[in-house]
């Protein structure tokens, strides 16, 4: 199970990594913005992506639109402070599979990861 973390905050990536490791996922790649993620995603071939929205250089929604042109299947969970209904709808339209609003507890993130992977497995 390969997981890619895309967030401009090293602190958030560290927290997410620790939560993923508790779930038994140790193959983790980090990217600091959408551009960085796009340059790494083909080589890393993630099974799951956790994606921030507001980032420098390339934001999460721009990354997602570009990524979905090549890969419609890999689950993506948006992890962001953006919680307005219009933003959530925009993210779903762009191809996000689930949504976590910051600040989040480890339990919430773990729960969203599990339900996302189960849904995608059932749909495959």
């Amino acid at each position: 199970m390969r997981v890619m973390l895309v967030d401009d905050s090293k602190t958030i990536r560290r927290i997410q990594r620790s939560i993923l490791e508790q779930l038994g996922y140790t193959e983790i790649e980090e990217a600091c913005d959408g551009q960085d993620a796009l340059s790494r995603v083909a080589a890393f071939q993630p099974n799951l992506i956790l994606l921030d929205w507001n980032m420098p250089n390339m934001d999460g929604i721009t990354f997602l639109k570009a990524f979905r042109q090549k890969d419609a299947a890999t689950p993506v969970i948006m992890v962001t402070t953006e919680s307005e209904k219009t933003r959530v709808i925009e993210a779903i339209r762009a191809g996000v599979n689930n949504y976590v609003v910051k600040p989040f507890t480890p339990d919430i993130l773990q729960q969203r990861i599990k339900e996302t992977l189960e849904k995608c497995k059932a749909a495959a």
């Binding site: 090293k10 507001n54 420098p56 953006e82």
Partner: protein
Amino acid sequence: MDATLIRRFIEATQNVFGTMLQSTVSFGKPGPTGQIRSVGDVSGIIGFSGDVAGAAVIRMPMDTATKVVESFCGQPFGPDSEDFADAIGEIANMICGSAKSNLNSSCVNISCPQVVVGKDHKVQKPSDAVCITIPCNAPQGPFSIEISIRAAAATSSAGSSPHAAAG
């Protein structure tokens, strides 16, 4: 300044500290910036644009900031560390992002965080902005939230951040 905006910042701060630092924050009476003494050795700054234009500054004395970073990261980082600024920036980002999401306005954008570290520095606000300070007290120590909001005119991009100067 709209009292709703101040309330949203208080709720957002309680939420961020409660969820990410397992800490409860108490709040003093908000007042005009300048009339309330606040020590700012470390500032996390976020710009707003759109229906609400301006900036919010999370200002902390060094001792508070050091303890906040340790609570948030689970390990201590010195003020010269990249991780220290990153943690303060992310806390500012979560507070402001959460506050703006509760404004019921579909058109407010926030900038990426900027962090200033320097003993008792000043953060200069735009002259046409209304500035309010909310005094806060966490188990990690006192800090403040300074909100400067310009009249409702929309601007084209996020980032109307104030300028910081050591002082």
